[in-house]
């Protein structure tokens, strides 16, 4: 899952107005006219008692679980829909709709579905709904982006009202992760986004209102099979501007903000509001992606030099206000397959210069203004990203590399990245459950459009290890193989690991029961309740 960003911003400018005749100077008149819509007040959110209001930087794009791929969409979709299994706070898969799962052999699994679960319209959820959901993703004309990830799945057979057989085309250890697909009722259409307003799931909340780009209102499901939520519902309000989010929280119109905060606002919120603030280490992995077909970047010394030249500590301390930990690789220390003993590259600009010299890229004028070479770096136009890019530019210039920063709105940027149209870019991976993601990112057969190996990394040893690890279902053996893979990747650097973001939640003190998931999931909302406000 990748993080998305909305590039939409509320603009409100107030600049001194010159005393001019408007009819004579059309540009200025138009400038005023253009700025007026930005001054429109934010839409008011009605607040019935027991309603929890959460602010988001950008809204979801699709809530249908078969289509929800970006982080925000997936998080909200998971409140409306249940899946057979779901990762817990430690990202270990726990049964949800599934009663049990059992491997008959290395390519056949029997899944029993719990009885008693029902959709929001009262219809019981049975094996037929599960089969329908998987079939509608797998059918040849399906446009679900999740189809690729389920390629290994040959068929889902209905064995009885609460029993299914999953048949795989070959041994596939990460199979269980495919049980996290949200289950839709049999017959639910999937082809158009207009049906998004009437989605019916079986989760703790039902969809009451969905205004794309503005808000999503969820109502508590009173008949929820695990017991109803103590909230009346949850409103996700999209507020693109970080300052406005903080001000609305201060005003009391927002109850909770998770992660969508400027790092510098956290101390301000602490001192200017009664917010309860919690910070917990997370596993959202930020990295710099590299085009390995670029004549300069395909040299390993150069990639190593880049890693040595980046002062991640300074960026984390100052730009991120300590809300991150330098990363050694994609998997965070809390993950079962995490391998800590890998080559690491702390900030050593001299070593970077030495490596670049050795690679044959001598600095033409020593400490002078001429660079050794020029690279372009793509990022989104989110302010924090731009600031990080500027800091990187400065740090790389110290070792003689001229970094040209290009910022784009999310859609353009993501399109370029997916097509491999970049030299360097920065992005993050959110919610890595199974380490098989490495196959998708670094196997030579995963080069787009077949996967997400966007840098076009090719390493036969990695390929072999990845294939082995995906076939092997013994956890110890998989851990050993993925450990090896992590060491090789940390040596070869197809990605430059930057940091794992810490998760932050800012909530009103009366909001109780919220737990921070390492991937920023909202899974704990079904336990959240509003305590009585203590009288001062």
């Amino acid at each position: 899952m990748e993080l998305t960003h909305s590039s939409k911003r509320a603009i409100s400018l107030s600049k001194p107005r010159p005393k001019v005749k408007l009819d004579k100077i059309p540009i200025f008149a138009a400038a005023l006219a253009a700025l007026l819509p930005g001054c429109r007040p934010a839409p008011r959110v009605e607040r019935p008692p027991g309603m929890l209001v959460i602010a988001l930087e950008s809204g979801p794009t699709r809530l249908d679980p078969r289509y929800a791929t970006d982080a925000t969409s997936a998080r909200i979709s998971a409140l409306i829909f249940n899946s057979l299994a779901r990762p817990d706070e430690n990202l270990r898969l726990q049964p949800e709709l599934a009663q049990t799962w059992q491997a008959l052999d290395d390519r056949t699994y029997i899944v029993r579905v719990k009885q008693g679960a029902a959709f929001h319209d009262g219809r019981p959820l049975t094996a037929a709904d599960v089969k329908y959901t998987y079939d509608s993703v797998l059918k040849p004309d399906s446009r679900s982006p999740k189809r690729g990830a389920l390629r290994f799945l040959e068929a889902v057979d209905w064995l009885g009202p609460y029993e299914l057989r999953f048949r795989l085309s070959g041994p596939f250890a990460p199979f269980l992760e495919s049980l996290t697909l949200g289950i839709v009722p049999e017959g639910a259409r999937s082809d158009d986004a207009s049906g998004e307003q009437r989605l019916i799931g079986s989760g703790p909340f039902s969809l009451a209102e969905y205004l794309p780009g503005e808000k999503v209102v969820l109502k508590s499901n009173p008949a929820y099979w695990e017991g109803p939520s103590r909230l009346a519902g949850v409103t996700f309000k999209v507020i693109p501007d970080a300052v406005v989010r903080a001000l609305e929280f201060k005003k009391g119109t927002i109850d909770l903000i998770q992660n969508d905060l400027e790092p510098d606002m956290v101390p301000w919120l602490r001192s200017h509001t009664d917010a309860a603030i919690e910070i917990r280490e997370g596993d959202i992995f930020q990295y710099v992606g590299i085009n390995l077909e670029h004549p300069i970047l395909k040299r390993r010394e150069v990639r190593e030099a880049l890693a040595y030249a980046i002062d991640r500590g300074a960026i984390i301390r100052h730009l991120l206000k300590g809300l991150a930990i330098p990363a050694t690789g994609l998997l965070a220390p809390g993950h079962w397959a995490y391998e800590g003993s890998v080559p690491q590259r702390a900030y050593r600009p001299d070593e970077a210069k030495r490596l670049l010299d050795r690679a044959g890229f001598a600095d033409p004028d020593g400490e002078g203004p001429l660079p050794r070479f020029k690279l372009s770096y793509k990022t989104t136009n989110i302010d924090l990203r731009k600031r990080i890019a500027e800091a990187l530019k400065e740090q790389l210039s110290r070792v003689g590399i001229d970094l040209e920063v290009r910022t784009y709105e999310w859609g353009t940027f993501y399109g370029d990245v997916k097509q491999g149209n970049f030299q360097l870019y920065s992005l993050e991976w959110v919610g890595v459950v199974d380490p098989d993601i490495y196959y998708n990112l670094f196997h030579s057969s995963s080069i787009p459009p077949n996967g997400n190996n966007r840098g076009r990394y090719r390493n036969t040893e990695i390929d072999k290890l990845l294939e082995q690890a995906r076939r092997n279902s013994a956890l110890d053996e998989r851990k050993r193989l993925y450990g090896k893979i992590q060491q090789l990747l940390a040596t070869d650097l197809p990605y430059i690991p930057m940091w794992w973001k810490k998760n932050v939640v800012v909530r009103k003190p009366e909001v109780r029961g919220f737990a921070l998931y390492p991937d920023g999931d909202f899974g704990s909302l079904k336990q959240v309740f509003l305590a009585d406000r203590p009288t001062p």
């Binding site: 001194p16 010159p18 001019v20 138009a30 253009a34």
Partner: protein
């Protein structure tokens, strides 16, 4: 009397603005792009009289260098726009007829578009950058000058000295350049002053939207945008560039108003 004081104040502000822009490397205490992450969001102090921004860059140096962008964009935009406006306006006013019709309809079409939106579309297509901002603003800003020049020329065309010049065999170019131009300079100068103010604001708006000056180039508009995120924790990031824009525009408007009072009065005599 009062008018003179304001005009003088305006001229003084403009001189300071021009001097700051011209002498930026000598006035600014630091390199405006020199980062120092360890000293981010510092409040104004002896070492950094206007504080530092999020990347630890000296705000005074950035505001000083920002004046260069404003002066550069303001003057070049207005120069290009005035030249186009002069050409179109004098052709239209001097020859009248279908030439006038054609050119004025073109002006009408251009004026029908909301200028800044067109400029946004323009820079979005060409790509962000100051050169594109100047191009967009001047290609859209000349219409006002063309109308003004046309009106003046049409009025002058009927004056005796023009008829005399024409009777003596002066070519249209010669008549326009030597006999008419000096007479339409005053209103043109006044409008150009206001036009420069408008161009500086438009550049600020486009840079604020990320379409103008690209980082790390300090422009007042982009500084406002960068500081916006910190308006609650470090208001000096937006206060100083905002103040700079205000003072510069105030200066230009005072000069424009003062000139109008003086030149137009003279014209009435």
């Amino acid at each position: 009397m009062n008018g003179k004081v304001f005009l003088f104040a305006g001229v003084a502000i403009l001189l300071v603005l021009l001097a700051t822009a011209g002498l930026a490397p000598w006035i600014a205490p630091y390199d405006p792009t020199q980062q120092n992450l360890e000293n981010d969001l510092a409040t104004p102090s002896r070492g950094h009289p206007l504080g530092t921004d999020k990347l630890g860059r000296d705000m005074l140096s950035r505001v000083v260098y920002g004046s260069r962008i404003s002066v550069l964009v303001g003057t070049s935009t207005v120069t290009i726009a005035v030249l186009i406006g002069l050409l179109v306006g004098s052709l239209s006013g001097y020859f009248g007829g279908w030439v006038d019709h054609l050119l004025m309809r073109l002006v009408d079409i251009l004026m029908a578009f909301p200028g800044i939106l067109l400029a946004i579309a323009f820079t979005a297509v060409l790509g962000p950058g100051l050169d594109h901002v100047v191009l967009a603003l001047s290609l859209l800003g000349w219409t006002g000058y063309a109308r003004l020049v046309r009106g003046e020329i049409m009025a002058l065309r009927e004056r005796d000295f023009v008829h005399a010049a024409q009777a003596l065999g002066g070519s249209p170019a010669r008549v326009i350049a030597l006999h008419m131009l000096p007479n339409l300079l005053p209103p043109l100068v006044i409008q150009a002053t206001f036009g420069m103010a408008a161009a500086i604001i438009a550049e600020g708006s486009l840079s604020f939207l990320g379409l103008g000056a690209q980082p790390p180039t300090p422009s007042w508009g982009s500084m406002l945008n960068e500081g916006r995120q910190f308006i609650l924790v470090a208001p000096h990031l937006t206060a100083f560039p905002g103040l700079a824009i205000m003072v510069a525009i105030l200066g230009l408007n005072l000069v424009g108003d003062g000139l109008r009072d003086r030149l137009e009065k003279k014209g009435q005599r």
